[in-house]
């Protein structure tokens, strides 16, 4: 193809790396803290809220509950908090995948319950080794999700209805399997119990911090160097260091506090690990790009050659597998599987956490870290209220509802902000 382009020729092609590409109209030329501040303000106005509201919310929650009861920020309470949020947190990561598609999964609580029931029945009644029981429960979770996905994506039944049937049906199967027992106690010294009772000694926590920071800095710096040598706009070193510094601060303070009690818990590590893996899959792989594309505009994705049906089925499979993991964590924490496992507020809390964390209900927008942030907000509210006298579930539900509403309103408002800015280019 001959290219007769009237644009200015690239001077010194290939020899000298071209100067970083900055269009004069590009506003985000960041210079120092004042530049950051105005960039933040611009993002807020155009509806790109990011994690700011959640982080502010967390700080407010910490201040309020600490002033009501000074045990709230104690290492012991915070350490318990990290274990408490793991189960629902895993369910939330699954919900996020489905929300990114622009769909909803109402069955995750029932799937968690079913997985708990299968774990209890296989291990305690049929003498499966605990690892085999765990794998069976996960396998059933995956299967259930694939069934939902096929009915939704292939047959075309709305996901809302498919998973509503799942909500009822899998809870029914759960009750059926558990009958006649209401509760099956599991062993308190096995692999299952270890999932939520294992804490790592101090140095392992620090090693994790060091490794994370090294990997983070390494990948970010190489990426920015590549951008620079390719002549693309890159983040100045000061900004890279600022981000790394903030991450380091959060990790060091977190691990330091947890080490004051028993150390970093395995349950929290599994949860955060799932979030990190999911984040990398969503942002760095072709699969993740396809999930966002299907959530943004399924027709466009289809025309681009993406197998929309397969993506949808796989996402429902992943979501239910993560819900099953959540169910296993619930069994581990109670050292028992019961007919009520997963049948309570788990579903609502998982969906609420995803939305509070910043994943949009409208599809295509959000990220894996919403599970961590939203889970921390809801976990902190639950744990803070438990420390107060004369406060029961009723208050917790009302406060959670208020927080959820605020999050959804922020989502809707920021969506409108993006809409009104959409045609602002000319």
């Amino acid at each position: 193809m001959s290219q007769q382009t009237p644009v200015a020729e690239d001077p010194g092609q290939g020899t000298v790396p071209p100067a970083p590409r900055r269009d004069p109209r590009l506003l985000s030329v960041i210079t120092g803290p004042s530049g950051w501040w105005s960039a933040i303000k611009r993002n807020l106005r155009s509806g790109e809220l990011g994690a700011a509201p959640v982080v502010i919310g967390l700080i407010l929650i910490a201040i309020v509950f600490q002033s009501l009861n000074d045990r709230f920020l104690s290492p012991q309470n915070l350490s318990n908090l990290t274990v408490q949020i793991a189960a629902i947190g895993l369910m939330t990561t699954g919900v996020i995948m489905v929300l990114l598609l622009g769909e909803i999964d109402l069955s995750i609580g029932s799937v968690a319950g079913l997985s708990a029931g299968i774990l209890g029945v296989t291990v305690m009644r049929h003498g499966f080794p605990e690892w085999a029981g765990i794998l069976t429960a996960l396998g059933v979770g995956l299967l259930v999700g694939l069934v939902h996905g096929v009915i939704f994506a292939r047959i075309g039944v709305p996901a809302f209805v498919v998973t509503l049937a799942g909500l009822l049906g899998w809870q029914g199967l759960h009750l059926f399997l558990m009958a006649p027992d209401g509760t099956i106690n599991t062993r308190s010294d096995g692999l299952i119990a270890a999932l939520t009772q294992t804490y790592f000694v101090a140095w392992i926590g620090w090693a994790i911090v060091a490794l994370t920071l090294l990997l983070y800095a390494g990948t970010v710096l190489t990426a920015e160097r590549r951008r620079r040598s390719a002549g693309l706009p890159y983040k100045p070193l000061s900004e890279v260091l600022l981000r790394a510094g903030l991450l380091a601060l959060a990790l060091v303070v977190g691990v330091w506090i947890l080490n004051q009690h028993k150390g970093v818990s395995l349950a929290f590590l599994i949860f955060v690990g799932a979030v990190v893996v999911l984040d990398l899959v969503l942002r760095k792989t072709r699969y993740g790009r396809m999930v966002y594309a299907v959530g943004g505009n399924a027709e466009a994705a289809r025309r681009a050659g993406i197998n929309v049906v397969l993506i949808r089925i796989s996402v429902f499979g992943i979501a239910s597998t993560l819900a099953a993991m959540g169910g296993i964590m619930l069994v581990s924490r109670n050292i028992a599987a019961s007919t009520t496992t997963g049948g309570g507020s788990e579903l609502m809390m998982a969906i609420a956490a995803a939305v509070i964390g910043g994943t949009s209900l409208f599809g295509g927008r959000g990220n894996a870290y919403s599970a961590l942030l939203g889970g921390l907000v809801l976990g902190a509210i639950t744990s803070g209220l438990l420390l107060l006298p004369n406060v029961d579930t009723s208050v917790r539900f009302m406060i959670t509802a208020a927080v959820l509403l605020v999050a959804v309103i922020l989502d809707a408002v920021s969506r409108r902000g993006r809409k009104t800015h959409a045609r602002g280019g000319a």
Binding site: Q3, R289, N297, R418, G425
Partner: protein, 266 residues
């Protein structure tokens, strides 16, 4: 004259009892813009879809690519030949950024199988520069672009497959004056790069501005093939409506003025 890149002869297409195309001939040369004209329901979109592989034509007609007979049974066949189609509804993902949209479905990967964002962004700049398109930031979601910019991204996206024929179905229908001009500029640049461009438009001003040739369909049949520079507005309208005594010319006679003011701008 050299062989056309794409030549259709005697193409018919029936939908049940409707004969949308009836023995239609059509061709595109390298480096020319062909306007495909016709009233609503004339069969323009159907013809484009036949070429794009979205519909298969009835048996009987023939399609030649560089003079060789080919069959286009699926969209993939058309793409493999080098035919790119930009439909009216743009098919962009609003939540993805420009780079993400340009490379959707053909992402570049590097070592551990992860997305090579740097390479994709570099290629995107290269592509947009070669089209003299200036967009300040390729990392904004396309939702925040103007209609003209979105149209340009959709066109640019189709060029990644290095097509030789680009077909645009009403690319300026929803655009304002300035943005229409941007898109027409881009169409001229595609022609200058040696591509054959098929442009469907109801806007005669656009057609006069960029098209070299106008191929008219009426009720699914060929109704004339005109060199735009040598043909008057009335002649083309007459071909579209099928009579010299047509609503458009009647209207202008009533008003006692030249058919269309925009025509004089050239």
């Amino acid at each position: 004259m050299s062989t056309p890149v794409l030549e259709l002869s005697g193409i018919s297409k029936t939908f049940g009892a409707v004969r949308a195309l009836d023995e239609v001939d059509f061709h595109v040369d390298e480096g020319e813009v062909v306007a495909l004209l016709g009233d609503n329901g004339a069969g323009k979109s159907t013809l484009v879809k036949v070429i794009a592989g979205a519909h298969t034509a009835d048996v009987g007609g023939g399609i030649a690519w560089d003079g060789d007979d080919v069959t286009i049974a699926t969209p993939a066949d058309a793409q493999r030949l080098g035919i790119a189609t930009i439909y009216q509804d743009l098919a962009l993902c609003d939540n993805l950024d420009i780079v993400g949209n340009l490379f959707l479905g053909s992402e570049r990967l590097h070592f551990p199988g992860t997305l090579d964002e740097v390479e994709m962004e570099r290629r995107s700049w290269e592509l947009l520069d070669s089209l003299s398109v200036s967009i300040p930031d390729l990392r904004v979601p396309v939702a925040s672009l103007s209609g003209g910019q979105r149209q340009i991204i959709a066109i640019a996206r189709s060029l990644l497959g290095r097509p030789r024929v680009v077909m645009l179905d009403e690319p300026t229908a929803a655009l304002g004056v300035a943005q229409t001009a941007q898109v027409l500029d881009l169409i001229e640049r595609l022609r200058d790069q040696g591509l054959g461009v098929v442009l469907i438009s109801h806007n005669m001003a656009d057609v006069r501005a960029v098209a070299d040739r106008a191929s008219v369909l009426r009720l699914g049949r060929n109704a004339g093939d005109f060199s735009v520079a040598d043909t008057s507005y009335e002649e083309i309208v007459a071909a579209i409506t099928g009579a010299s005594d047509n609503p458009v010319s009647r209207r202008s006679t009533r008003a006692g003025q030249e058919p269309l003011a925009t025509e004089d701008q050239r």
